[in-house]
Amino acid sequence: MSATSGDTGGLGAAAPTRPGAGSGVRATGASRLAFETSEGAQELAARQVTPPTELRRELGAVLRLPEGGVLDTGDLDVEAPDDETMIINMGPQHPSTHGVLRLMMELDGETVLRTKPVIGYLHTGMEKTGEELTYTQGATNVTRMDYLSPLNNELVYALAVEKLLGIELPPRAVWIRMLLSELQRMSSHLMWLATNGMDVGSTTMMIFGFREREMILAFFEKTTGLRMNHNFIRPGGTAADLPDGWEDDVALICDTVEARLPEYDELLTGQPIFRARMEGVGTITAQEALALSATGPILRSTGIAWDLRRTMPYLAYDQVDFDVIVGTYGDNFDRYAIRLNEVIESIRIVRQVLDKMPTGDYRVQDKKVTPPPRARIDESMEALIHHFKLFTEGIRVPEGEVYVAIESPRGELGCYLVSDGTGKPYRMHIRAPSFVNLQSLPVMLRGGLVADAVATISSVDPVMGEVDR
């Protein structure tokens, strides 16, 4: 095969053909798996029909490392002869893939050689839907993407809209958002501890994680009215103020979780079986993580202290004290340790928010952005008009484009928003951390055992609602 087979030329015609597949190699024996199903090119094809560039990508050796130079497409190391490898399918209906993630894996015995994540089973066109909803309605849409941290989705959307509007939020709104965002991080990481525990066989952790998360969700229900998909953080502030007695609830959550975390530490960290399943499994280097655009705990597990809350502060994260947790080896255990310790850091931040919560408005007093209080509508014609306009046409957002990113529990959650000056976004793109982080999975799985794949998938922490959007 020629070395330029990766050059696929004009593909605007959108024919779903496998690039390079027709270059003569295919004749040597087409994979039945690859060409006899309805989904064709999404499948992992056998080695002899896979073009070198794609093979290189799937082997995880695509990275242009500075010291490594550019790899020649011809010098791929293939340990196993083709007839001894086997391509198996894992998912999408698999209890350990955290949703409808499907992995095609090439195995040599029990060793994983190549992996190809196949996604899209939960694609519901949320970016397209976002173009049809007004800015007022938009938060209900984005909140459903990452269903384990919905408030972060609302936050990034609201921040993007506010940046386009050019409005400054009252301090209380900022701090309420920060409080909710950190509680959300705690609940998301606790949920991850629970499911990860289940994936590696610790069903006790499963129950513990859900128990603590439940406390946080109960507080969210008290605050926002819903346990998930809150639509609470909206452009212009939040939907309501915090409920009476929120300080006691939050303090109780902090105390309880803090008191119970050492138990988990003892249950998991000190457990020889758990350590054997996690340590040295699913490793990724810093350069690989950077090249594959991985963020969040995956990037931090390789020793790079990159946390947007610290490095590019948003909200009021520059006014609170917390540590960025980093790992050393980039393996599953580091990612576990990072998440466990980030819960502690979140508790620290929440306690500081408790102390520093300013008084005042919880939303901006701009009549073009914030709907008037219900009582005003009965008294004031102007308020009625504003209310009507806001809920029929949405907020008028000036023309422009903006990219805003925050640190979600899974990594950099970004929102690229294009406005054409009307009440609806012209284009709303969400940079979903799970979607991008999934690309590092083949690198982590390569060379490991297929039994460890479950633990490694879990350590990436993909949320399929966000992957597929």
Partner: protein, 184 residues
């Protein structure tokens, strides 16, 4: 609580806030029209031919991470604001680069004509572009030259059309209600 692993690492790089004004542009992008984003970071508008070269120059200048890549279809909003010397086309590919050492972002927006919607792939620079470019291909029908596996990623393999294009018929696939019950 005993920390289960060593949590020390390189110092967190503290630098100027995201894209403060006055940050020098990477060398090698001379002549490329530039504007400032609302968030302060520079936005480069290279010609389609220079797109790959500009991103490569940015990578050499320290933008190690491709943070985001997406496409926009400007079919129904042609009169957008662009700097001098940039001819608007129907499609636009937007990528956001990130420098970790001096926390800074850089946005690159390249115009892609409707007649020949193909740009160079960034896969050889940033392997992480792979899924994002597949997504843009899937939803907008923009081809990426040099991409190793340009296939649909979110939509089914046999899907016709590219849903995020503005002229895509939403609801064009009829929904069948078999034996819908009557009102009574």
């Amino acid at each position: 609580m005993s920390t289960p692993t060593e949590v020390s690492g390189p110092e967190v790089v503290q630098g100027p806030a995201a894209g403060e004004d006055g940050r020098p542009l990477p060398p090698g992008v001379e002549g490329v029209p530039v504007a400032a984003a609302l968030t302060g970071e520079p936005v480069l508008f290279p010609e389609r031919d220079r797109y790959h070269q500009v991103v490569e120059a940015a990578q050499r200048a320290g933008y190690q991470l491709l943070s985001d890549l997406c496409a926009v279809d400007y079919l129904t909003h042609p009169g957008r604001r662009l700097p001098e010397g940039v001819r608007p086309e129907r499609f636009e590919v937007v990528c956001v680069l990130l420098s970790l050492t001096a926390p800074a972002r850089l946005r690159v927006r390249v115009q892609v004509p409707e007649a020949d919607p193909v740009v160079d792939s960034l896969w050889d620079l940033y392997p992480g572009a792979e899924a994002m470019e597949r997504e843009a291909f899937d939803l907008f029908g923009i081809g990426f030259r040099g991409h190793p596996d340009l296939t649909r990623i979110l939509m089914p393999e046999d899907w016709e059309g590219h849903p995020l294009r503005k002229d895509y018929g939403v609801g064009r696939v009829p929904v069948q209600f078999k034996q819908a019950p009557g009102p009574r």
